[in-house]
Amino acid sequence: MLQLNYMFINMTKFINLSKYPFTIFSSLIILLFAVSASVSAQNIEEGEKLYKANCTACHQIDSKLIGPALRGVSDKYSEEWLIKWIKNSAEMIAAGDPDAIAIWEEYNKSPMTAFPYFSDDDVKNILAYIEQAPEKQAVVATTSVDGGAIVVEDQTSDYVILTIAIVLLLVIAGLWKIKNTLKEVAGEESEDLFSSIITLVNAFFARKSIVTLTVFIILGFGVNSAWNLMLGVGVTKGYAPEQPIAYSHKLHSGINGIDCNYCHHSARHGKSAAIPSANVCMNCHTYINEGPSGKAEIQKIYDAVGFDPEKGQYIQGYEQKPIKWVRIHNLPDHAYFNHSQHVVAGGLECQDCHGAIEEMEVVEQHAELTMGWCIDCHRQTEVKVADNDYYEEMHAKFKENHPGEAFNVEAIGGLECGKCHH
């Protein structure tokens, strides 16, 4: 049965960006009425919001991006100069400010975006945040930690079983020893381990009914496990291979709230959801060259497309190298599946089949992708007929010819072999 109780991505996360103008506006109002001009915790928080909304495209605290690293900027320049610069740097350059010209020259004469709508207090808040911004923590490669953890866990369980087995053997040996000792005490002839086993086995084989029963039980277990084994052939639920880039859906989709369709846009148009091409990554990663795990993973995109993050430009004449992702969801060639059918016409969410992808650090196959799994869903899912003229007549006719029956995918031929196998 298809589990529908997955974690929905909160839709508001998708529109975070569009919320910012409002955030800025509200923070301005708050600032206008702020009694204290001193740098309070509240102001650092405001500064952080403004910084993240406006500055991160070109700046980082501790390293150079398109613009310079910002830590210690308040020490280098006066606050008054910085306010003027941030509000309109071009004006300062035109006016011939030597410091301004020096920076402009240093950064290939690319001017900094002007922020004339910032109040002085906004700038001060940003500067306050920059000064107190936390140092970057050393981040351990998350994937390898996770992978390692699984291995250790497996080993632990094996050890436990082994230990129990050894203990049990020891107990058996101890009991046998005690029994023998007791026999010796009682003056009976002690028997060795081997002959006692023989006696037991002989007693077992003497009773045909027990032998038959045992054979049947063993056979039953055997057939059952063979059946399960065969059913599992080719089912790779939980398959989570290591990818060439340690791409985190949790970070992109979950934390940053990027809509699935942004990268997998063809899911709405064609049969394939498609792994995005590297140029889609570059839409954001032209500017973001460092993630929580450092620069190494993002550098792999640059290696693919030929981008120089230092200069912020593409390398001319670079031989591009496609990224060879490991395919996780593999349908056999004889099964036809169309994403747009399910996503657009069927109105399904990605998570219905792919699980809580926004929580996955490493993507794993959530569903079995067996035919039973497909048709279970087709039997239960009702067709979304609302506002779709395509279904109108069909649905009316169905209600007339099949009163009381559910208009589910099965009713429109969703179980017919040739629809998926052609």
Binding site: G234, T236, Y239, P241, H265, S266, H269, G270, K271, S272, A274, I275, P276, S277, A278, N279, V280, A304, V305, Q320, K321, P322, I323, K324, W325, V326, R327, N330, P332, D333, H334, A335, Y336, N338, H339, S340, Q341, V344, A345, D387, N388, D389, Y390, Y391, E393, M394, K397, F398, N401, H402, I412, G413, E416, C417, G418, K419, H421, H422
Partner: protein
């Protein structure tokens, strides 16, 4: 006394055959090469590998292989680095383009998937629709025989080296520089050749492999313009064709669409079509009245017609009706002739002039520019070459070493030209004889333009990145002229001022304002064309699939059965039964049913062709032979080489007919790959037909409903039912309607089906075993002189009646019937499948699930229509079937939405369910109903005449609904009551009786 008996093992032992003695001593006569695989004794004794070690290795490798096989393979998914904007994975793009190879012209739409062209269909324009060869050309793109780069004397050479050498030598050339091409209809190419000509004093010679010189010259003399006219068959009420197979390969445009436009019985009017011809052609088989004649008699009849129309003679009995009908349809008639003789064509022009057809059914003002070859210039060129007057020869779009009758003279001349360049795509017969091969691009990789008529230009745009290191001929000429403009820029600059560039590319065509050609009124000296030919006469023709032979290496075309003879992978002498009997020739079926025939030595003038198979062809004029051109290629590639015999050497004096031909039976027999072994319907009404007059009186004529006697009285089959009916009212009910009156048997649907559904090619041997895999076939039936009625009248017994009914008439009526899976709603196949691999859909389709099929073949056995095909072998990646599915390049043509079937499963027409599903999904996503003609199958989209109509019979707005409900509609073998989803409409001929 007992005597010791001695038993011989065979007669040869009795005869003391030395071989038998040897065999007694030693089972194998030749020594077994044990040493070869065991090495010499020394090596063997020194080796450290013992028998036990060997077993260990064996055990280890078996175990290792087993273990390795347990692991699920890791599949990589590699996205684009930078995705082209227009490509969405899994979604097809369509591009408008144009096909022109000198022999065929068509405006087309090309379907591409992830940047690969996979399917071609017509761009819905009135001008021209693609025939089987054009649709198949998508496979020729992926021909592994294509050249991978420039060649010099058979060795690879870089383009820059080649260019430097060629440019230098062109500048210092002694003698003429000649550019030999097919007819150039591209204005830019023409301009580039002119530009090239300015630099090197070039002679441009145009050469058509299939010449229409006679017609061009006749029009020059008659009207002052060396062109071929545009015909309007839709305006002609009487069509008289003297051998011109205008539904087949006559001229370069397909005329089916306009022919059928005037043959709609519903309108109450149909054109009357007379065909006077030698071979049984497609046009002849569609004609209302067909008159089989010898080529010489054809000319005599033509002259008789001319004289009669002029009032100088009385009409021959054979053409009495023709004269009467022509005279009463002045200005609404058309007389055409296939002859390549100027005098004959002048006479045809004169006849049309008398009938007032010019400006009405024949348009000389906006002529067709598709043929402009000049055979005299070619003859002069060959002479000049042999005289050493030609210094450099550049060839494009031609293969003269194969298509010239006197190829030897051409090849000898080539040796005397110091610089020879071919731009062929592969090492064909000509390329192997030249110094440089600078491969042109396939048209699907190219830019280009094509002006088929003066008032319209069509564009060619690339639909795939060039597969190999090739260069368009236009670009080569520009480079050699010292012009470094890219051809694309050249083309764009040329047209930008004249047409709207982007929208013209999108549409595929642009209208041009071109004044009609100024013509002088008909003025020519009509000479007598009477012929005194003797003996057997030969008429050469182009087969429906191979055409002029340029695509001979295309396996789809080779396996496409000829619509008339129903044979493939061959050419053969067609001969009438009478002439065959006179010459002691016959055809027969061998034990497995396949067709074999005698072979002959054919002598035409000085040319002798050996071992030509003879196929008995009903309708062939007595005393004549037919032979298809385009076969017998020697350097076309692995598929086309050595298939059939080359008939081009028989084109003597540019004439496609010869007289006084001799045939002589030779030893041996030939196996034909024939897919239909029976000729007649044996009195059954598989094809129901009637005449126009009867139809107009009673629309149900010829379509008598079948009634069964039951205890409830007479009932129609669908009222007697054992089975529970499916609910076909809810949702879609897909039906296919086939109008037999509109079907000309052109084969476009067959090859479109092949292309869309990944139908494998199986090769001649398998076709002979009736293992061809076509999902759609076009059955061809001949009428017989014996019918049930005649037998009853004459009191002929059952056995002799049926024997006689098997034999087709000497000049039979021909009818075509496309047969695919009939998608029975009470399907006999479904009830016998033990694993439910073939099941029924509520939408009226019979599904075939390959992955469920275990190959019992019960379904095929139970299918009354014989439309199920069994995969006896893996046809993909199998060296035994070395066609396109056996190489990586050829596999690029496969449709990714359709499974490639494995060995041991049954397959059949799915009614292109992948296309239906796509249409449905588009409508669902847009939230709308499916509109008429939106849902298509490959065959319906390929049909040039609209004979095949597909749609939802539950939707009154779909045209298929009217077809199904029409009075002419019937189901094939309706007495079986299988309730088919495929409907046929009675064939109507426009005959008086």
């Amino acid at each position: 006394m007992t005597k010791q008996k001695k038993y011989w093992k065979g007669l040869s032992e009795l005869a003391n055959d030395p071989l038998v003695d040897k065999l007694k001593e030693n089972e194998f006569i030749e020594e077994i090469p044990v040493d070869d695989f065991l090495g010499d004794d020394k090596n063997l004794s020194e080796t450290s590998t013992s028998r036990r070690d060997f077993l260990k290795f064996l055990g280890f490798s078996t175990a290792a292989a087993t273990l390795a096989a347990c692991e699920t393979p890791i599949i990589k998914s590699i996205p684009y680095v930078v995705k082209p904007e227009e490509i969405t994975p899994g979604v097809a793009n369509w591009y408008a383009s144009t096909f022109y190879d000198g022999n065929d012209f068509a405006n087309i739409l090309v379907k591409t998937r992830e940047g690969r062209p996979i399917f071609i269909k017509g761009n819905d324009l009135p001008s021209s629709s693609p025939n089987a060869r054009v649709i198949s050309s998508v496979l020729s793109l992926y021909d592994s025989n294509r050249l991978k780069g420039a060649m010099k004397n058979g060795e690879s050479v870089t383009w820059s080296d080649a260019d430097t050498d060629i440019t230098t030598r062109l500048s210092n050339v002694e003698g003429d520089v000649v550019v030999l091409t097919n007819t150039i209809i591209s204005p830019t190419t023409q301009a580039i050749i002119e530009e090239f000509g300015k630099k090197y004093a070039v002679k441009h010679v145009q050469y058509d492999a299939i010449s229409v010189q006679g017609m061009l010259d006749a029009n020059k003399e008659s009207f002052g313009q060396r062109v071929i006219p545009t015909y309007h068959l839709d305006k002609a009420d009487v069509i008289v064709s003297f051998g011109a197979d205008f539904l087949g390969s006559w001229l370069s445009t397909s005329l089916e669409k306009q022919y059928i436009a005037n043959r709609n019985p519903k309108s109450g009017k149909m054109s009357r079509h007379f065909q006077i011809e030698t071979n049984m052609s497609l046009s002849g088989s569609n004609a209302d009245i067909r008159i089989p004649v010898k080529p010489s008699e054809k000319l005599n009849l033509l002259e008789n017609l001319f004289d009669t129309l002029n009032g100088n003679s009385t009409a021959n009995d054979k053409i009495k009706d023709i004269v009467a009908e022509l005279t009463s349809a002045k200005g609404k008639s058309l007389v055409i002739c296939d002859s390549n003789d100027k005098a004959i064509q002048i006479m045809v022009n004169a006849i049309n002039d008398i009938l007032g057809n010019y400006g009405k059914t024949i348009d000389m003002g906006q002529p067709s520019l598709l043929k402009a070859g000049d055979d005299n210039a070619v003859a002069q060129l060959i002479k000049d070459m042999n005289d050493g007057k030609v210094g450099a020869l550049i060839m494009s779009g031609v293969n003269p070493s194969y298509t010239l009758a006197d190829a030897e003279a051409f090849n000898a001349g080539l040796k005397k030209v110091s610089l020879t360049i071919s731009t062929a795509l592969s090492m064909d017969e000509t390329s192997t004889n030249v110094e440089y091969v600078c491969p042109d691009r396939h048209y699907l990789e190219s830019w280009g333009d094509a002006k088929a008529t003066p008032n319209q230009v069509a564009f060619i745009q690339p639909t795939i990145q060039p597969l190999f290191d090739s260069r368009q001929i236009q670009e080569s000429l520009l480079v050699w002229s010292g012009d470094d403009t890219e051809y694309y820029t050249y083309l764009k600059n040329y047209w930008r001022s004249k047409v709207s560039w982007s929208s013209s590319l999108h549409d595929g065509i642009a209208e041009l304002s071109a004044d009609a050609l100024s013509l002088s009124s008909f003025a020519a000296n009509v000479k007598s064309v009477l012929s005194q030919a003797q003996g057997l006469e030969l008429a050469l023709y182009q087969s429906n699939s191979i055409g002029d032979g340029s695509q001979a290496n295309n396996p789809w075309l080779q396996e496409l059965p000829d619509p008339i003879t129903r044979s493939c992978w061959d050419n053969y002498l067609t001969i009438s039964a009478t002439t065959a009997r006179e010459n002691g020739l016959s055809n027969w079926n061998i034990s497995d049913g396949s067709l074999n025939g005698d072979m002959v030595r054919l002598t035409v003038g000085d040319v002798v062709l050996e071992n030509i198979p003879v196929l008995i062809q009903p309708g062939q004029a007595i005393g004549t032979l037919g032979l298809a051109l385009g076969y017998g290629r020697t350097a076309s590639g692995k598929v086309g080489n050595g298939v059939g015999v080359n008939a081009y050497p028989l084109v003597l004096n540019n004439s496609y007919t010869s007289s006084d031909v001799k045939i002589e039976k030779v030893e041996g027999e030939h196996g034909f790959a024939s897919v239909q072994l029976h000729h007649t319907m044996m009195g059954r009404d598989l094809i129901k037909e009637t005449t126009l007059n009867e139809y107009l009186e009673n629309p149900k004529s010829g379509n008598k409903p079948l009634l069964y006697d039951t205890h409830l009285g007479k009932l129609a089959p669908d009222q007697i039912d054992l089975w529970q009916a499916h609910d076909h009212e809810t949702g879609h009910f897909w039906n296919l309607g086939i109008n037999l009156t509109s079907c000309t048997g052109c084969n476009s649907c067959v090859v479109a089906c092949h292309s869309e559904n990944n139908v494998p090619v199986v090769g001649k041997e398998e076709v002979r075993k009736s293992r061809d895999m076509h999902w759609l076939r076009i059955d061809r039936y001949y009428s017989s002189d014996m019918t049930k009625e005649i037998a009853e009248e004459e009191g002929i017994g059952a056995v002799s009646k049926f024997k006689a009914m098997e034999i087709p008439s000497e000049n039979p009526d021909v009818a075509f019937q496309p047969v695919m899976c009939q998608h029975c709603n009470h399907a006999p196949c479904e009830t016998v499948c033990p694993v439910a691999a073939t099941t029924h859909s509520a939408e009226g389709l019979n599904h075939m699930t390959y992955n469920r099929c275990v190959g019992t073949r019960y379904c095929a056995n139970n299918c009354p229509y014989k439309v199920r095909r069994f995969n006896w072998f893996n046809y993909a990646e199998n060296d035994a079937f070395d066609y396109n599915m056996n190489d990586d390049l050829g596999k690029m043509v496969l449709n990714p939405d359709v499974t490639v079937r494995a060995r041991g499963v049954m397959e059949k027409c799915s009614m292109c369910i992948q296309m239906i599903q796509k249409t449905k999904l588009d409508a669902k996503r847009d939230g709308r109903n499916i509109v008429d003609n939106e849902a298509q199958t490959a065959c319906s989209s390929a049909c040039p005449t609209g004979a095949i109509t597909f749609g939802d019979a539950n939707n009154q707005s779909h045209s298929v609904t009217q077809m199904v409900e029409d009075d002419r509609s019937y189901q094939l073998l309706d007495h079986l009551n299988t309730k088919n989803s495929v409907f046929y409409q009675t064939k109507i001929r426009n005959r008086k009786s």
